[in-house]
Symmetry: C2
Subunit: 419 residues, 2 copies
Amino acid sequence: MQTDVVSYVRDMAQRVKRASYSIGKASSREKDRLLRAMAKALRERMQEIISANRKDMQWAEENGLSQAMKDRLLLNERRIEAMAVSLEEIANLKDPVGEVISAWRNKDDLWIHKVRVPIGVIGIIYESRPNVTSDCIGLCVKSGNGAILRGGKEAINSNMAIYSALKSAFKEVDIDPDCIALIETTDRSAVGEMLKQVGLIDLIIPRGGEGLIRFVTENSLIPVIKHYKGVCHEYVDRSADVEMAVRICENAKVQRPGVCNAIEKILVHEDVAPTFLPKMAEVYKKHGVEVRGCERTRQIIDCKPASEEDWYEEYLDLIIAIKVVSSLDEAIDWINEHGSHHSDGIITSDYESGLRFVREVDSAAVYVNASTRFTDGGVFGLGAEIGISTDRLHARGPMGVEELTTYKYVVFGEGQIRQ
Amino acid sequence: MQTDVVSYVRDMAQRVKRASYSIGKASSREKDRLLRAMAKALRERMQEIISANRKDMQWAEENGLSQAMKDRLLLNERRIEAMAVSLEEIANLKDPVGEVISAWRNKDDLWIHKVRVPIGVIGIIYESRPNVTSDCIGLCVKSGNGAILRGGKEAINSNMAIYSALKSAFKEVDIDPDCIALIETTDRSAVGEMLKQVGLIDLIIPRGGEGLIRFVTENSLIPVIKHYKGVCHEYVDRSADVEMAVRICENAKVQRPGVCNAIEKILVHEDVAPTFLPKMAEVYKKHGVEVRGCERTRQIIDCKPASEEDWYEEYLDLIIAIKVVSSLDEAIDWINEHGSHHSDGIITSDYESGLRFVREVDSAAVYVNASTRFTDGGVFGLGAEIGISTDRLHARGPMGVEELTTYKYVVFGEGQIRQ
């Protein structure tokens, strides 16, 4: 079996790499036609997908998966329709491939163009909802990349049904259908094999829990862009509009606590803490948010004490840790030291504080007077997103179709040689 | 000793990371002042550096290093002056940090700016000439990054003397000198330790032979951008101007055969082969270039037969392999399959052939009617280069100061919350 997985993954990677040149050079019109045909196929095969999903749901039931996991797994007509709409929205985006990023003439009279091109083949390893299958294939098609997908074993029947519907759409276009592939074995060693396909898979995107991310990072011979955790902060500056600060910290914590751009910590300047903290505590109490405070916080409001681990933890829940600081400098240093460099904001009415915060806080997205919840490819206006990169190389923050491309230099000469 | 290296590298990485925020926020003027002070220090300490270099040269002599290696190792007044000039040229480049790559207002009336920022801390592992120490520190200073350097043991005395001169320049500016560091132990395990400093070192750039690159890629937990080999091609199309083709293939092979952008292979269309090959063979004979040909080549000119391995090998020498192909398609497929995706060119007078070649050949730099030898940051006009990336992610081809940066999103709001 082990040997079978080795050659299964290797053969698939070779096939997808070869076919990736076909989607890589396909016209925008052809790729958009494919995306719309995929949306149509999802609608036509809706019942087929739903019955495949029933098998997964039954397995989840028998194996005692949590209610939250079952919710994520469930497909119904509304959710499949949303997947189809999402593919149509991707079709409506601007094609990033072929964009001339910059062009100039050098001293040798060469015309040099820096041109956006697909990365090649993207390997996506995910654990979560079956709609990821359709979203990721859509984004890879748009950006001209081949794609190899490996989903969670609990969603295997749903993923196979979605994949089969999407694959059927290739009959309507002149693009090699081998450019997308789904790993259909649930053998765990397939992930390890994917990570070895140097020269065939060009980028690995892991989406899932800490264990998966760590396994992929430690074992991949291929570049990885991680979609990891968000330990996001709001810093309430001494000059903050307190009403605004309460409103933003409410939104950033409770509007959707289970996502990576929700805040997990509040830092508050000592001068404003006596006014801000009681109001904030009242609002959080209303929403059932558990507050854990530093010593100075606990001198002002009644709450649990925060432990050292609290400053690093991503709760993804209705819990927040609050710390009183003595200066903007302390807040900036604290966030750079304890945060996850995802999304962090300041609430201030002071020009210099705002400017220093956005310059000196080392995070993918830094905010003045707005909720961190806005860190999202769709909300930013990048179109659909494949995730939010917590890495610093290649792509940082929301990753849309443009971030699924690289570039090459195209040089036009008239016989020039180097002296 | 092993434990000492572990804490030595860890402590250094922590110190450099902390200080990297100091150089990251330094003004352009301050960084340029530092670069010019570094150039001055190199000139002032020239004799000190030369006597340190003598120790390395003596070691090289005693340990029987090749003449080529000793040439690379040698420092003299002219070479140190060139290092100083290079630092001044880096000072004259435009500061990439703070550039607003793009900015827009989204539907929520947020003002979103995508701003260029330093990557953080760059780890550079190199084997070659001691001037790399000065060049890399210069590029990291300009781009606002911290730098940890690990050079080859044969150059340790030269590297330490250069580093010490550069470090002394910090007394003239208000930037934390801990932002640059040189690993002064020659213990091999220090490289392995560098590759584990996740969160402290943000990018590893290995520059050296195949063994070093492989070791780094297989062991790094940190993203790596490789500067690997170039198996570059010129394809002589059926419509090529034969004189131009000969001139370009001469230049691309013999002007400097030991570099990665020199060609190692020629593909020639069967229609033009009978005219092109005899002329090319004559020119190569004059330069002492050894030609290895496919069967069809050998029917036209007298040369050694090419083996299967010849199509993949980077000779870095006066050797070339030549193959006759039947079509542009065959040439494109061949290059994508056998090349190293570095620099490849077509010689043609046909519009469509040129266009298809640059679109479909999957290389960092693709040329029409020009020598591949132009792939170089300085020649392209990017300013100095830290190397030529053979990777696809983040940076592809010549890597200048801009490629040593990443970006962050700076978002200005007026109290917006997400609905």
